[in-house]
Amino acid sequence: MTAAAHLLEADAISKYYGNVVALKDVSMHVNAGEVTCILGDNGAGKSSFIKILSGAHRHDAGRLLVEGEEVQFGSPRDARAKGIATVYQDLAMVPLMSIWRNFFLGAEPRKGIGPLRWFDAASAKRIVRRELSQMGIDIRDPDQPVGTLSGGERQSVAIARAVYFGARVLILDEPTSALGVKQAGVVLKYILQARDRGVAVIFITHNPHHAYPVGDRFVILNRGQSLGNYAKSEIDRPELVRLMAGGRELGELEHELEAIKAEL
C-alpha cells in the first residue's frame, strides 16, 4: 500500500445502459475523516454512480479501488464487507418499529446459550442511547416508533447505525433533499460528527448550499460527465453554485427572461 492510496477511489468509471451512456470517465476519491460531495442535477448520473460505489450495480469501464487495491463488488453485501455502508433516502428504517429495534434490525445482539438465545433488548437500548448521544442526537425514548421521528432525525439515526456497525465509508444518498432548512442543518451536523469520528463520507446532493459548508472535496456531475473535481481551497461557493446550475445555461435563461420582461 502506497502512502498516496485513498480509502475509496473511483478512477475513470463509466456505465452504459444499452446504448445510453449513464456515466463517462467519472473519478473521485475520499479519505478517512473527509467529506466528498457529489453534486449534480436530476439525471446527472448521481444515482448510477452511488449504485456502483455501493455495489448495487457493476461499472463497465474504469477502476474502483479500496485502499489502493482494485475491487469488484458483486452485491451491496460485498461493499459492506469492505466497510462501505449506504444510507438510502427512504429505505433506511421501518417506520412502525421502535428506534432500538430498527437500530439492530438484521444484526441483533443475543444472550443465552444454544436454541435458548434471546435478543438482548436491555443492552440494545443502552447501546442505542449511548451511540446516539455520542453523535449528539437527543432522543426521548428508544421505544418510540421511528415513524414518529422527523425526517432529519430518521436520517441521523440511520447514520449513527452505519457508523456503529463499523462503516469506514458512508455513502449518503440525498439525505437532505426532502428536508426543510432546519432539519437539513441537523443532518449536516451529523455528517460532520461522523467525519470527526474518522469516517469517510460521500455526500450526494443537488444542493450546493448544503454541500459547501461540510465538504472537503466537490465532484460536479452533469449529463453523466464530471465537470471537475475540486478541493475546497480551489473553489468558492458562488463558483460551485454556478457550475452546479450549469453556468452558461443559467446565463442564457437569465437572458431569455430579460427579453420576456422587456416585451411586457
Binding site: 429505505l91 412502525l96 429495534r101
Partner: protein, 349 residues
C-alpha cells in the same frame, strides 16, 4: 409542583406529546383486554338468567370456545405482523384431522406416529404456501385462498370416497388413543375445563416471547413493516415469511389433532370458516392488515372476546345467528381503533 420538563429539553418540531393514559389505551393488548372485559360484563347482564360470572362450568365452556379460536390465532397473528395472510388455516384443521383419522383407522397406525406424520404434513403445506407467495410475489391472500379451496375439495371428495359418508368415524379405535388423549383433549378439574385451554395459554406465551424477545421476532416486525428496508439491512425476509407460514399450518395441524381427540371423529368440513375468525382475533389484538404491527397477547384477549360472544349468545338465549353480526361489529371496531394507533405510530402529519 415540579418544574415542567419541557423547559429544559428542546421541544421537537412536530412531535405530539402523548399522555401516559392515552399511551396505555392505544397499546394493542390493553385495548383488546378492555374490550374483552367489556364483553364479559355485557353478558353478565344479558345472560343474567345463568350465573355468568360465578359459575365455573360456564367459564369452562367459553374458554373451550376461546381456545378453539385462540390456538391457531397465535401463529396467524405472527404471520399478519410478518405482512402475510393464511386463509387456508381453517381448512387445514379439517385436512389434518381427517389425515389422522385415515392413518389411525384405515392404515391401523399407532396414534403417536400418525400424529407425527400429520404435523409434518402441516409444516409441508405451510412451506408450499410460503414458497409460492415468495416465488410468485402474489398476495398471500390469493395464494392461500387457492390452498383453502383445494383443501376443502380434497377433504370432501376423499372422505366420501373412503367412507361413503362425510366423516371419518371411530378414531378412538386406534392404538395409543387413550394415552395420547390425556395430552390433547382431557378435562381438568371437576368443572371440565379443557386441556386445550392450557395449549392456548402456552402457545400464547411462546408466541409473545418469540415476538418480543427473540431475534426472529425482530425479523417478523421488519419483514412485515418494510420488507425492502429489512432486506437492505440483512434480514432474511423470505426465510422469515416461509417459517411463519409453516408455523401457521403446523399449529392448524395441531388443532386438527386436538379436534380429532375431542370428537373421536372428524367431519369433512371441519374448520371451514374459522380462518376468518382467526384473522378477527388477530385484528382485535392490534395486528394491522398491512403488517408490521400487532400483539400476541392482544390476540389472546381477542380470542377470549369471541369465545365469550359465541357462548354468551347461547346463554342469553338469543338466536345464535347473531354471532356473525357480533363478530363483524367487533372486527369493524377493532379496525377503526387500529387505524388510529397506526396513524399515531407512523406519525401521520
Amino acid at each position: 409542583m415540579t418544574e415542567p420538563a419541557a423547559a429544559t429539553t428542546t421541544p421537537d418540531e412536530r412531535l405530539v406529546r402523548v399522555g401516559p393514559l392515552a399511551r396505555v389505551l392505544t397499546r394493542p393488548d390493553i385495548g383488546a383486554l378492555l374490550g374483552a372485559i367489556a364483553v364479559f360484563f355485557a353478558f353478565a347482564y344479558f345472560a343474567r338468567a345463568v350465573n355468568w360470572i360465578g359459575e365455573p362450568a360456564i367459564a369452562a365452556s367459553w374458554t373451550d370456545q376461546a381456545a378453539q379460536f385462540g390456538i391457531v390465532a397465535v401463529p396467524v397473528a405472527l404471520l399478519m405482523i410478518g405482512g402475510e395472510f393464511d386463509l387456508s388455516a381453517g381448512a387445514m384443521i379439517g385436512s389434518s384431522g381427517l389425515l389422522l383419522g385415515y392413518l389411525a383407522t384405515f392404515q391401523g397406525l399407532n396414534i403417536w406416529p400418525a400424529m407425527a406424520i400429520v404435523l409434518l404434513f402441516g409444516l409441508a403445506v405451510g412451506f408450499v404456501n410460503g414458497l409460492v407467495v415468495i416465488r410468485t410475489n402474489l398476495p398471500s391472500f390469493i395464494v392461500t385462498l387457492a390452498t383453502f379451496f383445494v383443501l376443502q375439495g380434497v377433504n370432501a371428495a376423499l372422505t366420501l370416497n373412503l367412507t361413503g359418508t362425510t366423516a371419518i368415524q371411530e378414531i378412538d379405535s386406534a392404538t395409543g388413543f387413550d394415552s395420547a388423549r390425556r395430552f390433547f383433549a382431557s378435562e381438568l378439574t371437576q368443572y371440565d375445563f379443557k386441556v386445550k385451554v392450557l395449549w392456548w395459554i402456552g402457545l400464547t406465551l411462546a408466541g409473545a416471547w418469540l415476538l418480543a424477545k427473540s431475534r426472529f421476532g425482530n425479523w417478523i416486525y421488519g419483514a412485515g413493516g418494510d420488507p425492502v428496508a429489512a432486506r437492505n439491512v440483512g434480514v432474511p425476509v423470505a426465510r422469515t415469511k416461509i417459517t411463519l407460514f409453516m408455523m401457521t399450518s403446523g399449529v392448524a395441524a395441531l388443532m386438527g389433532i386436538i379436534t380429532a381427540f375431542e370428537l373421536r371423529s372428524i367431519q369433512a368440513k371441519e374448520g371451514i370458516g374459522l380462518e376468518f375468525v382467526f384473522i378477527i382475533c388477530a385484528v382485535v389484538g392490534g395486528c394491522l392488515l398491512t403488517g408490521g404491527y400487532g400483539s400476541v397477547i392482544g390476540t389472546f384477549f381477542g380470542a377470549a372476546m369471541l369465545g365469550m360472544v359465541q357462548l354468551g349468545i347461547i346463554f342469553a338465549e338469543w338466536d345464535s345467528n347473531w354471532t356473525f353480526t357480533f363478530q363483524g361489529a367487533i372486527l369493524f371496531a377493532a379496525v377503526m381503533l387500529n387505524t388510529v394507533i397506526r396513524n399515531r405510530a407512523q406519525g401521520s402529519r
